[in-house]
Amino acid sequence: MPAPSDRVYSESHEWHKLDGDTLTLGLTQFAVDALTDVTYVQMKPVGTKFKSGDIVGEVESVKTTSDIYCFASGEVIEVNAALADDPGLLNSDPYGKGWLIKVKVSDKSGLSSCMPADKYNAAHPT
């Protein structure tokens, strides 16, 4: 599935979807395809404050363990609880039910380092 155009993409394959001052973070189809089956997700807990470019969690798969970055500054306000029971949601629906965290954004300037969907899709076809 190609990356949808309603969000922006980092070089490290996170998608960032901004809605007012709330940002939803997830991983791209390209990234989850490379990871293979996701087996465990550990995101920073609600209340964690972080700066753009910080590690906000980690995702384990059959093949590897990867750090997850967010390219806006803010505070974690929700972690996707469904992933605790079914981390495979990342593989089956990375742009929907497989979202990772929601963030209350304090500074969105870091998002300027991200790519629009067309550029990401051109670089990372799925």
Binding site: D33, T36, D37, T39, Y40, E58, E60, V62, K63, T64, T65, G88, N91
Partner: protein
């Protein structure tokens, strides 16, 4: 990059192709865990054509294999296959292999893809050193090999196709002379499940697989499974893999496959010393290997990785060689080498992943054993 005769089959089945030991192989088709469960509950098709298949013939074929293999070969009957190690002079492991006895002076040896060229060179050295009359015919490219594995494979598929094959005992094989080809069918595998492995001409494999899939009827009975599932299945079954639990610098007596090492095989009729035997006898004389392979049940769903340090009370006592989240058991499992004093079942150890410590406990291998019948 080499392609197996089933390359097109994999691509058409949606296989995600990766480089494995110089071969384009399917890592997975729909999902590693899905394919794993398919094999544990019904049946899976694995293309294992990348593994090396070398015919060994000649009046010294038996003697050659006795020198090569850690396990006794001469007492094998035609139609029998046997798991063995091939060691170096230091008692380290060059490879693990399956030897098929076709006839008195005719054998087939199946080796790991990553070791095929190395072993072919080694075979030549052993032949020359002993001035043996033995011929090697590498049939890897001219043949294909397919494994059908899972609890329904024998009763719901093989039994319909051939009562003779369904009646095979474990580690026995038949040579089926079909109208246009010869196929070797053995009751072997690398998943812990019952099933068969079939060696047949490259040109015939696509047609044969199509026929088997048609005979299976119900599409859910048998589905293709990739290297990802093959790895998690063999881990649950506690089976060692070269490059992980087996290697040139790993003492053969530490890998949990003592059943395949006959230190007395120079005795009796057809007795021969195998390469590495003296070194392994010294290991025994010195009280055994310092470290041994154990299985660790990990608490929780996190995955240890090869190379992670195994600890006891904060001190390093070993290293992880393979690990995964066990799809069948639902918790982490790991294999690794630890100090021999800590190999007792129930011993509590931790694994340092570099991201935190996982609690684990030594358990008996295999982690998972399918119920019989």
């Amino acid at each position: 990059m080499l392609k197996t005769p089933l390359y097109t089959y994999h691509v058409q089945a949606g296989g995600k192709m990766v480089d494995f030991a110089g071969w384009q192989m399917p890592m997975m088709y729909t999902g590693i865990h899905e394919e794993h469960h398919q094999v544990r509950t019904s049946g899976g098709i694995f293309d294992v054509s990348h593994m090396g298949r070398v015919k060994v013939t000649g009046k010294h074929a038996r003697k050659f294999l006795e020198r090569l293999c850690t396990r006794k070969i001469s007492d094998m009957e035609a139609g029998q296959c046997r798991y063995s190690l091939v060691c170096n002079e230091r008692g380290g492991v060059r490879d693990d292999v399956i030897v098929y006895r076709m006839d008195d002076d005719e054998f087939l040896i199946v080796v790991n893809a990553s070791n095929r060229e190395k072993l072919l060179g080694h075979f030549e050295e052993v032949r020359a050193a002993g001035d043996l009359t033995v011929k090697f015919d590498d049939q890897t490219m001219s043949t294909a090999m397919v494994a059908l594995q899972g609890p329904k494979v024998i009763p719901d598929l093989v039994a319909k196709l051939s009562a003779e094959v369904a009646a095979l005992k474990r580690y026995r094989f038949l040579v089926k002379n079909l109208v246009i080809m010869k196929a070797i069918v053995s009751r072997t595998g690398y998943t812990g499940e019952d099933g068969v492995e079939v060696i047949l001409p490259s040109m015939a494999v696509s047609m044969a697989l199509g026929y088997v899939e048609k005979e299976a009827g119900d599409k859910s009975l048998l589905k293709p499974a990739g290297l990802g599932a093959r790895d998690t299945l063999r881990m649950e079954a506690g089976m060692p893999l070269y490059g992980h639990e087996l290697g040139e610098e790993i003492n053969a007596l530490s890998c949990g496959v003592d059943f395949a090492i006959a230190l007395d095989k120079d005795q009796g009729e057809y007795g021969e010393r195998f390469i590495g035997m003296e070194a392994l006898k010294r290991t025994v004389a010195e009280g055994g290997p310092k470290r041994k392979l154990v299985g660790l049940a990990i608490e929780g769903k996190r995955t240890a990785r090869q190379g992670n340090v195994i600890k006891r009370g904060g001190a390093a006592v070993g290293e992880v060689t393979s690990a995964c989240l066990s799809p069948t058991l639902g918790h982490g499992i790991a294999m690794g080498f630890v100090d021999t004093s800590l190999t007792e079942v129930g011993t509590e150890l931790t694994v340092d992943t570099g991201r935190g410590e996982l609690a684990g406990k030594v358990v008996k291998l295999p982690f998972y054993k399918p119920r019989k019948g």
